[in-house]
């Protein structure tokens, strides 16, 4: 693999791993605080799956750049993270958390389906393991969006507010760089922009069925994955502080 291709792949792998890691951290913040004991367990399971996926993906990163998963997770600063912004926002209320999960699960399901045939075999192999869990995650968040949307005026109001806030940020999932064309030509990684239509075909009908209105005049976020909100700093301060107290400690 030449250097240009390797760097493009690294960038995408780090993006995938960071999406999972950051969302996992936000979901784990519900542990002990979810509205139902059963959902508390569900969110902890979800967070553990995502953390597991992040660890495995960071293992692929290590094969390419030599940095261990712990170095990547605990010793990078916010500017070096490549997750999309809507995943780093605070967990908000239950409606926000479930809608974010739904929008992201739909995206990941499409991404994983396409990566099953990636010409980079290590990636195709790990995605085959993740896929079943992702189908389950999507069913869970799909179900919750429906129940909140068709629930009470309050649950619908909260869900709509979450959609208004998040919708413009979802455009970031489908941003592409020059290097991405290379990956796509080599069959390594699908072009994110090509997944946007399929994503909308999944989420738009469901959102409409759940009485939600997609903002029509919103300014979509077109910034790249290297830009972040201050919420990522706050999250990393929390997530990394123990590891940074004593970098030589054995876990």
């Amino acid at each position: 693999m030449n250097n240009a291709l390797k760097n493009a792949l690294l960038n995408r792998l780090i993006g995938m791993a960071d999406d999972e890691l950051i969302l996992s951290h936000r979901n784990a913040e519900w542990t002990g605080h979810a509205p139902l004991l059963e959902e508390d367990i569900a969110l902890a399971n979800l967070a553990q799956d995502e953390l597991g996926h992040a660890t495995v993906l960071l293992g692929l990163v290590e094969e390419l750049n030599g940095k261990t998963p712990d170095q990547m997770a605990y010793f990078r600063d916010a500017a070096e993270f490549r997750n999309v912004q809507f995943l780093e926002l605070p967990k908000g209320d239950w409606a926000f958390t479930m809608l974010r999960q739904y929008l992201f699960d739909a995206y990941e399901t499409i991404l994983y389906n396409r990566l099953l045939t990636s010409s980079y075999q290590p990636l195709a192999d790990v995605v085959a393991k993740f896929r079943g869990e992702e189908i389950y995650h999507l069913r869970h968040s799909h179900m919750w969006v429906e129940r909140l949307g068709l629930g009470t005026d309050e649950s619908l109001g909260r869900l709509q507010a979450a959609l208004d806030q998040m919708w413009p940020l979802t455009a970031q999932l489908f941003q592409v760089s020059e290097a991405d064309n290379l990956l796509s030509e080599e069959g390594v990684f699908p072009l994110a922009a090509d997944m946007a239509d399929e994503w909308q075909e999944i989420v738009l009908p469901h959102l409409a069925n759940c009485s939600l209105h997609v903002p029509t005049h919103a300014t979509m976020l077109l910034a790249g994955r290297e830009t972040h909100t201050h919420f990522l700093n706050d999250l990393l301060t929390d997530m990394q502080q123990v590891a940074r107290w004593d970098p030589s400690a054995e876990w």
Binding site: A42, E250, W251
Partner: protein, 176 residues
């Protein structure tokens, strides 16, 4: 929020077994909660849920103190029969053993006790078949795929657990 009883089938040879209950607003929600609570590290091929309110339940003591009085009130329907036959401590406590047809729960149980007389029952449940919702077969792979190959789901994957054990062993040794 209603309570639902959860039944788990571990493999093709095992019966559906009651494993506990979850709270949920409807059958689909109940199945999700059941999956999350009772199939965390998967060992299952299918789940059933039934609203606790739909279950006609009697223990052996209750049957002794107050014999069943089956009547013909109600419409004839299928009932699934569950029996607890052992006091052995176990994760499960009620096995699905078969079905019967009756106009109401009390008659269904009276029939079931006659029909399934191979072992005495310590407790019995009969549930109208229509009150039971099963996990869908097409999602079984996604819901119940073995976790064995997914090392990140195993506790042992996380280094600090083994470090903790080493630490504890060290503590025991130094006490001696």
């Amino acid at each position: 929020m209603a309570r639902w009883e959860v039944f788990k089938k571990d493999n093709a040879r095992k019966p559906y077994q009651a494993v506990g209950s979850v709270h949920a607003v409807d059958p689909e929600h109940a199945l999700h909660n059941a999956k999350n609570v009772f199939v965390r590290r998967p060992a299952a091929v299918s789940l059933w849920v039934a609203p606790a309110a739909a279950i006609f339940s009697r223990s052996a003591e209750e049957l002794e103190n107050q014999p069943l009085d089956p009547t013909a009130n109600g419409h004839e329907q299928r009932y699934l029969v569950f029996r607890k036959a052992s006091n052995r401590r176990s994760m499960t406590f009620m096995d699905h053993i078969g079905e019967t047809s009756a106009p109401n729960g009390e008659s269904a149980l009276a029939q079931a006790i006659d029909q399934f007389d191979d072992k005495p029952g310590l407790a019995w449940w009969v549930i109208p078949a229509e009150a039971i919702t099963a996990s869908e077969e097409d999602v079984a792979e996604a819901w119940f795929a073995p976790a064995a190959t997914k090392t990140y789901k195993q506790q042992s994957q996380y280094g600090f657990v083994s470090k903790l054990r080493e630490g504890r062993k060290g503590a025991v040794t130094s006490d001696e």
